[in-house]
Symmetry: C2
Subunit: 437 residues, 2 copies
C-alpha cells in the first residue's frame, strides 16, 4: 500500500497543547503499553501493523518536519510544501514526490488520508481495500464513505448510486444543517471522511494538466507561484468516474477538546488530583506541578508551558477566537534534534532549557544581537565555537558573544540551561552556516 | 496604641497561593491605587491610618520574618517564636518583647488581634477603644464581640451580661452547630473574633505566674522547653473580670477560597480570559502564561509556581486533605533580600531565578554537596567569593565549587539565573558565615 497522510495546519482548537507551531497530531495523549503516543504515531503504527511494507509519505509544511522526524524517526517519507497552497497543489507535489523521489510506478495505486482520524485497525484494512479497488481501474477515484452514526453538521455527505459495498457516486453534498443531514441519511448518504484512492498515473496527469512543471524538483521550486485551489474543486467536482466504498467501523475526528477527551482511556494525564465530587472531568497536565480539581462537572482542564485551559466540555469547541487573541511567544517546541522550553522571560534576557537527543546536533549558527551562555546540567557532548571543538560535561559553562558561530552535538542525552542576553531577542536573529572541516 | 498582630501558621487552605512557607496573609490580592497589597500590608496600612503613632509588633514564627520585612519594611517590631508552642507562650513572649525590647510601660494597654481580618477602618477605631477601655482597669481583659450576621458554625460565641456597648462577659461558648448558634444569637450572643486588650502588667504577671523566666532573652532561650497551652485555657477560662465591647462593622475572615474571592474587587487577578458563558468565576494567576476559562459557573481558578487549583467555590473549603497529600519542593519564596523561583528540577541539578532588592544581600554561605553557577541577567551587584569581591553586570558568570563561600550584594535590582549541580540538592545543605573584613 502506498499511503499519503495529509498532515494539516497548525491550529489552536486544542490550545494550550496545540499552537502555531505544534499541531494537534503531535500531542502525546493516547496511552499504550510503553507510554503515550500522538495521533501521528498511532496512525503510523496502525498502518504498519496492517501492512508492514506500506510506503508512508507525509505531506506537510516545513514547520512540522522536525516534529515528524522526532516522533516517527528518519525512515518516513516527507513531501514538504514550501508554503501553503491548498489541497490540490499539495496532492500534486506529493504525487510527484512519490513518482520521482520514491520511484512508485505509474500503475500503482495511492491512498490519501488525513493524519488524524481516531480509528481501529479495520479502518486501515478498508484503506487497503480502497487502494486495491483503485488499482482495478473501474473508476478514476475511489472514496471512503463512512456510515453516519448521527446527523452531523460537521461533515460533507456522499450519496451513492446503490446500496452495494462499492458503488458509483451519485452526488456530493456540502456540510448540511441537521434537518438536511437527516434527509440525506434517509436517502442512504455516507460521510465524506476525506479519504480517496487513485492510480498514480491518473493524478500525475491531472497535475500536469493544471500545472506547468517538469518533475518534482521543478514543482517544488515554483511551488510559491501556484494558484491556491482545492482538490475538491480541481478534481472531484469535474470527475464523472468516482466510486465510493462503505466503511462501518469506528471513526472519530478528534478536533475539539470535547471529542479528544472522549478518546482518553483514563481521565487524567499528568500530575492531577480529582476529589470524589468531580464528575466527567478530564485533565491533561504537561507541567511538572500538580493540578487539584474539586467539585467540577463536565470540565476539561489542560496545562502546558503555553497556558492553562479550564472549560466546560461543550463550550470547549468555541475556544478558537479567544486563544487567537493571545499573543505570546512559543514556550515549548520539538526540534529534529530534541526540544526546548522557555523557563524565564525578561526585557533583556531569555532563559531556556535545551534538550538534545543522543547523537543529534543543532545547526551551526550565530546570532547578531544576543550573547549566549550554556550551562551544561546533564549528559555529555561536544561544543563547537568558531570552529574549535571542545567536549563538555555537567558543570561546564560556555559563553558565546554575539556573532560567534556555535553548535553542540549530544553524545549522550544532553541537557543545558541556555541564557540569552540582548536587547531584541528574537528567533529570527539566526544565521546558519555549513560546518568547516 | 500598642498592637500585637498574631501572624498565624502556614496553611494550605489557600493552596496554591499559600503553602508550608508562604502564609495566606502575604498573598498580594487586594487592589489599591498603587498595585496590589497583601492582608498583612492592608491591616498594617489601616492601623497606621487610624493611629500613625501605633506601635505594631508582629508575633510570628521564624519562617515569616523575611516575608514580613519584605512587605512591611524594617520598622515593624517582630516577636519571633523560635518554635510553635500554642497561643499562651506566644503571647507571653510578645509581652516580654514589648516590655524589655520596645520599652512599653507596665500601665500601658496592649491590643492583640489576628493579622488577617478583612475589615474597614472602623474596626481599628474599635481596637483603639478596646485599648482605652483596658487602660481604665475596670476589667483585666477586654474582648471584642462581633455582632453576628448569620448563625455561623465557624466561630466561638460570647454571651454578654447586658446589651450595653460595653458589658461584663456572662459566658463563652465553643463553636456550635447551626441550631445552637441560632439559640445563642437569640440570647444576644456575639462572635468571638479573637481580639482582646489588657494592661501590659496583667499579662506579664500571668506569664511569670505560669512560666519560670527572668526576662525576654531568657524566655526566648528556653522557649522550646515550654508546654503547649492555649491562651483561652491558660487565661480566659480562669479570669472572672472580662468585659466585651460590641462591634457592628464589616468583618470577614478570609480563610477559604470561597470567602477570599468574595473580597476581590475584580474577578481576575493576573493574565486570564473568561468568555461570556462564565458566571461567578474568579481567577488568581501568578504565572506569566494565560488562563482561558470557558462556560464555568461558581468556580475559582488559581495558578502559582506551586500548582493549579480548579474548584467549585463551595467545595474549595475542603481542599486541605487533598493538598496535604502533595509532597513537592517549594517553588517560590520571598526572602528578606528579595525572592527566588524554581525554574527547572532535574535529578542532579536545580535551576532557580534569584531576585535581589537594591541594597540587599544574601547571607555569606557555602554548600557541601553542590556546585553553583550564577548567570547575571539584569542589574548590578558585587559578588564575594572566598573573601574576594568582584563587581558584576549582565552577562557575567560566576562559578562556585562546593565548599566555596559566597554571597552577592545588589547595587541596583539584581536578577540572576542560578544553576545548582550535585547529587543531593537540598535547602538544608547550607553553612552560614560572618563576613571577613
Amino acid at each position: 500500500m502506498n499511503i499519503v497522510l495529509l498532515s494539516g495546519g497548525s491550529g489552536k482548537r486544542l490550545w494550550p497543547l496545540s499552537n502555531d507551531i505544534r499541531s494537534k497530531q503531535f500531542i502525546k495523549i493516547f496511552k499504550t503499553k510503553n507510554g503515550y503516543e500522538s495521533m501521528v504515531q498511532r496512525v503510523y503504527r496502525q498502518i504498519k501493523m496492517v501492512d508492514a511494507d506500506a510506503t508512508v509519505t507525509i505531506a506537510t509544511s516545513k514547520t512540522q518536519v522536525s516534529a515528524i522526524h522526532n516522533q516517527l524517526g528518519e525512515d518516513v517519507g516527507i513531501s514538504v510544501e514550501p508554503c501553503r497552497r491548498d489541497t490540490f497543489p499539495a496532492i500534486a507535489l506529493a504525487i510527484a514526490y512519490l513518482h520521482d523521489v520514491q520511484g512508485i510506478g505509474l500503475d500503482e495505486s495511492v491512498v490519501v488520508c488525513p493524519v488524524d482520524p481516531y480509528v481501529e485497525d479495520d479502518y486501515f484494512e478498508a484503506l487497503k481495500a480502497l487502494g486495491e479497488q483503485a488499482a482495478k481501474g473501474e473508476a478514476n477515484l475511489v472514496l471512503m464513505g463512512i456510515e453516519p452514526t448521527y446527523p452531523s453538521e460537521k461533515y460533507g455527505y456522499i450519496i451513492p448510486a446503490t446500496v452495494d459495498q462499492t458503488s458509483m457516486v451519485d452526488t456530493f453534498k456540502e456540510k448540511p444543517n441537521k434537518e438536511t443531514a437527516k434527509s440525506y441519511i434517509s436517502q442512504g448518504a455516507l460521510w465524506n471522511g476525506g479519504v480517496f484512492a487513485y492510480k498514480l498515473k491518473y493524478m500525475l496527469d491531472k497535475a500536469h494538466e493544471l500545472i506547468d512543471f517538469t518533475d518534482y524538483s521543478d514543482l517544488f521550486a515554483k511551488y510559491d507561484t501556484l494558484t491556491k485551489i482545492s482538490f475538491a474543486y480541481a478534481v472531484v467536482e469535474k470527475e464523472p468516474k468516482i466510486q465510493v466504498m462503505r466503511f462501518a467501523g469506528k471513526w472519530k475526528d478528534l478536533g475539539t477538546w470535547n471529542t479528544l477527551t472522549e478518546a482518553m482511556s483514563e481521565p487524567v494525564l499528568g500530575d492531577a488530583i480529582l476529589n470524589e465530587a468531580c464528575d466527567n472531568v478530564n485533565v491533561v497536565n504537561e507541567l511538572n506541578v500538580p493540578i487539584v480539581c474539586m467539585g467540577l462537572h463536565d470540565v476539561v482542564v489542560s496545562a502546558s508551558p503555553e497556558g492553562i485551559l479550564v472549560s466546560d466540555k461543550e463550550q470547549s469547541s468555541y475556544i478558537k477566537p479567544y486563544v487567537d487573541k493571545i499573543d505570546q511567544q512559543i514556550m515549548f517546541a520539538e526540534k529534529s534534534w530534541g526540544s526546548f522550553r522557555v523557563l524565564d522571560v525578561e526585557d533583556s534576557s531569555l532563559t531556556i532549557k535545551v534538550m538534545l537527543n543522543p547523537g543529534h546536533r543543532m545547526n551551526y549558527h550565530s546570532h547578531q544581537r544576543r550573547d549566549e551562555i550554556w550551562n551544561v546540567i546533564s549528559g555529555e557532548g561536544v561544543v563547537t565555537v568558531d570552529g574549535m571543538e571542545q567536549p563538555v560535561q555537567p558543570g561546564d559553562v560556555i559563553t558565546m558573544q554575539a556573532g560567534c558561530r556555535h553548535m553542540v552535538t549530544a553524545v549522550t542525552e544532553l541537557k543545558m540551561i541556555e541564557v540569552q542576553l540582548g536587547k531584541e531577542i528574537s528567533v529570527d536573529d539566526k544565521q546558519k552556516y555549513e560546518l568547516e572541516n
